[in-house]
């Protein structure tokens, strides 16, 4: 029997190759004692290489490997966001207890594996690839969340994430099977043509399939009411991992969300748009009010992440090029804001006995201005105040939504933002307006948020370049793109244009 090997466009898949190679190398580094501690370095190199190769592929859309993947500007943009986030996370992981626990090699290999999953996901245009990619993304994260074996929180979050995540995957899978059955194809394009046929369009099988897949993706992007894992996992997981998850996972999941819904399921748009819009609205409300009065910063950021997911989902609801661009833009901006925040949280976790409790940042403005500013900026940006990328992002989303005739959702975004100020500014107030003079003296460790083991491991963490550096960098970017957004807008527009079906 004859076998035709598929054509391999090595340029196109080079980023994937680089990552895979990186994983292997990093793993090997773990085996040989002398190079054991080179894990982070190697990981960074890999990520840098991947980023380089991705940029090389910019503006050069091609189908890869028998149409299983498609590398276009959307994929590249999202992959870049994921890679950058990962690089930040690697830096934050230096001297992180979890990494030591898991072993540097394994830890970073897993992280790279997750990144690989994200890259694949952002390029996937075939159900099988889609599924395997999303699992490649998730499974390492399950492990990494639980990787700090000494902290019960870590294990708990790992298990919770695994269980709920697997339910999500199962739902997703089941939905895929329906869609496959209904359309008779696993390729996105094939699905689109398959369900567009007379008699199939609007068939309950397809629609329920859409519903199932929507649930699966909504879970990954923590859209309410499928969001509940988010706060717990964010709080329990080792902070660098949280920072990685918070942005990268969302980015990748949203990428495939866009591709799957705006390419494969486009014919059914009239059915799924309202549903997603309602989900977005619920998410905005739930996320914002849930975050009110949270003392654990990570938990607060978790809820805020939920709310932000709601905003971003608006980009898909809008269903126009502007929407996709807005989505990419917002994700990029969100990456910067979150990085700044999490870097500071990591630093304070190691400096103070309060873990990620809000008391850890009390009167930070006096103690460590260089940490206080990034956190402040990030909070203001998340709250969408002007002169930050957050404002432009919201502006972009709202513009897309109004264009897509979903003004009421835009109003929801506005309302959500108002509520969100209450908890974002609470952090700012703690930093700058704490009761006069009363700095956060090392007292008895907090009950909430921080756990007994969390005594200060590194009282100088706030001065470490690998923590303060990323924080300041991200904050600077947040402000810069708030004032000179055009480059980022161009970037997003290119990504948005990738989905041809919208024109």
């Amino acid at each position: 029997m004859n076998f035709v090997a598929p054509h391999l466009d090595y340029a196109g898949i080079s980023p994937i190759i680089a990552l895979t190679a990186g994983i292997v190398v990093v793993l090997l580094s773990a085996v040989f004692r002398p190079v054991q501690r080179t894990g982070p370095g190697l990981a960074l190199v890999t990520l840098a290489a991947t980023a380089g190769l991705l940029i090389w592929q910019w503006h050069d859309p091609t189908d890869l490997v028998a149409g299983a993947l498609r590398i276009d500007d959307l994929a590249v943009a999202i992959s870049l966001i994921a890679v950058t986030t990962a690089a930040f996370a690697v830096l934050l992981s230096l001297r992180e207890e979890a990494a030591e626990q898991a072993g540097l090699g394994e830890y970073h290999a897993l992280m790279l594996g997750s990144v690989l999953g994200m890259v694949l996901l952002s390029e996937a245009q075939n159900l099988v690839t889609f599924f395997i990619a999303i699992e490649t993304l998730s499974i390492p994260l399950y492990i990494l969340c639980g990787s700090n074996l000494l902290r019960e929180h870590s294990l708990e979050s790992g298990l919770k994430y695994l269980i709920v995540g697997s339910i999500g995957s199962a739902t997703l899978l089941y939905g895929m099977s329906f869609i496959y059955g209904g359309s008779g194809s696993t390729d996105f394009a094939g699905i689109a043509s398959g369900i567009a046929e007379e008699g199939v369009l609007g068939d309950p099988l397809i629609l329920v399939g859409i519903g199932l897949t929507a649930v699966g993706l909504a879970f990954k992007t923590s859209i309410a009411p499928f969001h509940q894992w988010t706060p717990d996992v964010y709080q329990g997981a080792p902070t660098p991992i949280t920072s990685f998850m918070a942005v990268a996972t969302k980015a990748a999941a949203f990428a495939v969300f866009v591709r799957f819904f705006e390419v494969a399921l486009l014919p059914q748009a009239d059915e799924w748009r309202p549903a997603l819009a309602v989900l977005a609205a619920i998410t905005i409300v739930v996320g914002n009010i849930g975050a009110l009065g949270q003392d654990s910063l990570k938990r607060m950021l978790g809820y805020s992440g939920v709310a932000q997911a709601g905003y971003i989902l608006g980009g898909i609801v809008a269903l126009n090029a502007a929407g996709t661009s807005a989505l990419v833009f917002y994700l990029a901006g969100y990456a910067f804001m979150n990085m700044a925040a999490f870097a500071v949280v990591v630093a304070r976790e190691r400096e103070t006995p309060y873990g990620d409790d809000i008391r850890a940042v009390r009167s930070l403005g006096l103690e460590r201005p260089l940490l206080a500013w990034p956190l402040t900026i990030s909070m203001l940006a998340l709250a969408g105040l002007p002169a930050t990328v957050g404002f432009i992002g919201k502006l972009y989303l709202i513009e897309a939504l109004v264009e897509g005739d979903y003004t009421w959702l835009a109003v929801f975004i506005a309302v959500g933002t108002m509520i969100s100020l209450a908890y974002y500014l609470r952090v700012v107030a703690a930093m700058w307006m704490g009761p006069r003079g009363e700095a956060a003296q090392p007292g008895p460790p907090a009950i909430a948020g921080a756990d007994p083991e969390a005594d200060p491991v590194d009282p100088e963490a706030g001065r470490r370049l690998y923590l303060a550096g990323p924080a300041l960098l991200a904050a600077a970017a947040t402000v810069f793109f708030g004032i000179v957004p055009q480059p980022l807008v161009k970037f997003a527009e290119a990504a948005g244009a990738a989905i041809g079906s919208l024109h």
Binding site: F131, L150, E152, I163, S166, A170, L173, Y174, S177
Partner: protein
């Protein structure tokens, strides 16, 4: 034999698996129930692949098996870790994180 039968059976299995997750507290059993759900998916995949007469569904099913295996491995790993940590093997006991 009508394909419908297979699909309905698979959805029944899916529902049973889901119900199991909701009802059982032992992480091991919950993992088993996840297996049930994934297998339900597999069944419908294979059935549909028969229905539409191409084998992509079957390939998909294979991939899913691998994935399921991986999840099991990781899940069991976590369970062992939790056990080693002398924590109760009951998902209801693991609720430090809440609110």
């Amino acid at each position: 034999m009508n394909i419908e039968w297979y699909i309905v059976l698979s959805s029944l299995l899916f529902a049973v698996g889901a119900g199991g997750i909701l009802l059982r507290r032992s992480p091991v059993v919950i993992l088993l129930c996840l297996e049930l759900m994934l297998n339900a998916g597999n069944l419908s995949l294979v059935a549909f692949s028969r229905m539409v007469g191409n084998q992509e569904g079957q390939v998909f099913a294979l991939v899913v098996m691998v994935v399921a295996a991986c999840e099991v491995v990781v899940g069991l790993g976590l369970i062992v870790a939790i056990f080693r940590r002398r924590l109760p093997l009951d998902v209801d006991e693991l609720r430090e994180l809440r609110g």
